[in-house]
Symmetry: C2
Subunit: 226 residues, 2 copies
């Protein structure tokens, strides 16, 4: 997955932000990696100023830490971090999904969710785990956008980004995510029926199970940091 959100390519700050974020999320820049502002500036072929501003944004998003005198450090995501992130998502997403269900969305509104779910199913067949993860991500982001609380969408988006790397690593250390895919299908059905409480319950279970499985894997790996 590339860095989402509005295209940030017009300015040098936007360039630096987009490129650094893409390298972090794709694990091309590993957690723990440190570099000083001049180093990064040279790597990106620009002066320190736009790099600095991009780093401030990445720090606000919880992807890097700016340690005085040592430069920017790519933040690892620990099991405890993942626990915190999933706790928040478990509080937010089921609510947003249930609210959406109350509005009785028609097929046209739900079309992007339908497509994301189909893409997940198709990706499982091939199988193509990267495509699966991208479609899964798309489902969750689209659902929040349909709900329409922009602040909520932005908050969840930041959390998705923070969790992304650990998710991608653990994704390959477990069975194919048939169950998770089926749950999306179920949630979609409940949304279509306007069954708000069903949606809430299904979504909560979906997130809680995903969190449990992920933390299990992280523990089995000896609590590494991503």
């Amino acid at each position: 997955m590339q860095a989402r959100g509005m295209e940030q390519g017009a300015s040098r700050v936007g360039d630096a932000y987009t490129r650094l974020k893409a390298e972090i999320l794709s694990n091309r820049l590993l957690p723990g990696f440190q570099a000083t502002e001049p180093e990064i500036a040279e790597r990106l072929g620009m002066s320190r100023t736009p790099v600095r501003e991009a780093l401030i944004r990445l720090q606000a998003e919880g992807l890097v830490e700016l340690v005085p005198r040592r430069g920017a450090r790519i933040l690892p995501v620990s099991a405890a971090d993942m626990n915190d992130i999933y706790e928040i998502l478990t509080a937010l997403e089921p609510h947003a999904a249930a609210e959406l269900a109350l509005r009785r969305p028609d097929a046209q509104v739900l079309a992007p969710l339908e497509e994301a779910t189909s893409d997940m199913e198709a990706a499982l067949e091939k199988p193509d785990l990267d495509a699966w993860a991208a479609a899964d991500d798309r489902f969750h982001r689209t659902l929040l956008e349909l709900h329409g609380n922009d602040r909520l969408t932005a908050i969840a988006s930041t959390l998705f980004d923070q969790a992304h790397r650990a998710r991608m690593v653990t994704l390959r250390m477990r069975d194919m995510p048939h169950r998770s895919t089926a749950e999306h299908r179920e949630i979609l059905g409940a949304l279509r029926r306007g069954d708000a409480e069903g949606v809430r319950r299904l979504f909560r279970d979906h997130r809680e199970r995903a969190a449990r499985e992920l933390l299990h894997i992280l523990e089995r790996m000896g609590l590494p940091q991503f």
Copy 2:
């Protein structure tokens, strides 16, 4: 209330951030106010560089908008914004409070909440609405800190700040908040008993009622922007 969080007084960026944020939250700088970087820099007695970095942070927190060529604009908080903010808080705080209750916190742990509640009650007696609002704010922030999910605390803190101005204005357009204060007392009791479901329900009702009342006032005022 002053700008909360870590004291940002050491550097010029920190100074600019703290001072601007304090002026925004206290409504000394009104929503809609615009100023260019050189103007702000002169007002604060420093160069554009630290001002710029402070403005980037304030933009990330949703307090100002940086519009190219026109400078920084203090963001108004509309009724729709307040609705979105309260929706998120209603999803997050009852959960955090219920989780805290499950841990069966003893009197020592709950002491800061007890104190905040007493302060609210005392402020109602005087009466001192500013002191009441400060104690209310302290209760909500402390509860989240006790819960211990730092990301959740940070997210809620940003939302509190965004809602602060509208809250302070509407606070003076309604009856004394006896009900709200009593609800804090009830929540505290349920926390002490470890009654997680009770805490969740009380807190959700507390937030939902507060949101309804606030939006009513905003509507009666003709949907102004703060």
